[in-house]
């Protein structure tokens, strides 16, 4: 028999009335010294983006100019043969990278510092844009000879697009495969 006495219940209810309490599970995790795990899918996507995107920018017809220990960097030489515009795009992770082996690296950041350097001043204004899932993020308009900035690649599949009258597209398809695609339009 689970006894329940109404008078006692009423007295206890008055003593400590029920109050709304905000759940703070993150605080519990922090106190336990546990960092919330991401789903496998998210982790896979993050790993794919981090491990593939930056080198893939330079992977296909382009060259990896520098991948020095402690300083992972990708550099892409881009050439618009039609317009005679030669440029180099490079991206370097801002933080959180470490080396695994002599020529491999793994990242924990999606933020990249980028530079776009034209060998000569473009004859026409050049706009460099990042295409993410169909949406453009402008890197620079009327880019100077040496343009620089920061991009946050996020969880998406990025495409680098240098667009002017002739268009040069460097794409990175998802799930670890990389491809370069050059499209020149008049």
């Amino acid at each position: 028999v689970n006894t329940f006495v109404p008078e006692v219940a009423a007295a206890l209810d008055a003593a400590v009335p029920p109050v709304p309490v905000e759940a703070r599970w993150e605080d519990v995790l922090r106190r336990a010294g546990i960092r919330r795990r991401r789903s496998r899918t998210r982790m896979f996507l993050a790993a794919a983006v981090l491990a593939v995107v930056a080198p893939a920018l330079a992977a296909a017809t382009l060259t990896i100019a520098k991948l020095a220990p402690g300083e992972p960097r990708v550099s892409s030489r881009v050439v618009d043969a039609t317009l005679g515009v030669d440029a180099t795009f490079s991206a370097q992770p801002r933080a959180g990278f470490s080396h695994v082996g002599s020529r491999r690296w793994i990242g924990f950041t999606r933020a990249f510092r980028w530079t776009l350097t034209f060998e000569d001043r473009p004859p026409q204004p050049v706009t460099a844009r990042l295409l993410v899932r169909g949406s453009f993020v402008t890197l620079c308009r009327a880019c100077p000879t040496d343009a620089t900035g920061t991009i946050q690649l996020g969880r998406r599949v990025p495409l680098l697009l240098l667009e002017r009258r002739g268009r040069l597209t460097l794409s990175v398809a998802g799930r670890g495969t990389a491809s370069a695609n050059i499209v020149v339009r008049r």
Binding site: N2, T3, V5, A11, D13
Partner: protein
């Protein structure tokens, strides 16, 4: 382990007000009670590997929460004190309730804890037994003794 961890989080989100209420009754201080419950769940997370699934997860967690609240009360300075003042009689709205609360405050600890778990958490004797680490028979005896004491006190008032 991940399943148990998810169950633990679900229990936390579903029953947090009840855990805090019982802890408040034990500590006599709502803020300390919230801290005790947060600490208890953190401890439960850390010790999840020791949960043997021999009983309900909730009972295992209740045991940790009660222990955490008792520890919290022991750490609290006496001036803020709660050991012999929980729950606070002055919060009662009439003399009969005040009499009951005073009587509850004077009960032996095990009886008081059993009362809190029975009335605030609506646990049955078996669950209270798991939470307090005693037999269901002991819980029944404790609650019977508590009710007898309270009944005498009520009749006297």
């Amino acid at each position: 382990m991940d399943d148990v961890s998810a169950d633990l989080e679900r229990l936390y989100r579903d029953e947090l007000p009840t855990f805090v209420r019982v802890a408040t009754a034990i500590t006599g201080d709502e803020e300390a009670a919230r801290d005790a419950v947060q600490e208890a769940f953190a401890a439960a997370l850390r010790r999840l590997g020791t949960f043997r699934r021999e009983g309900p997860l909730a009972a295992w967690v209740w045991r940790i929460v009660v222990r955490s609240a008792l520890d919290q009360r022991a750490r609290a300075p006496r001036s803020a004190g709660s050991a012999d003042a929980s729950p606070q009689p002055e919060l009662a709205v009439d003399t009969e309730r005040a009499a009951i609360l005073v009587a509850i405050a004077r009960l032996p600890e095990r009886q008081r804890l059993a009362l809190f778990l029975r009335y605030y958490a609506d646990l049955d004797y078996s669950a209270i037994a798991d939470a307090l680490g005693v037999s269901a028979g002991t819980v029944a005896a404790s609650l019977h003794a508590a009710h007898s004491t309270l009944r005498v006190r009520l009749e006297a008032s």
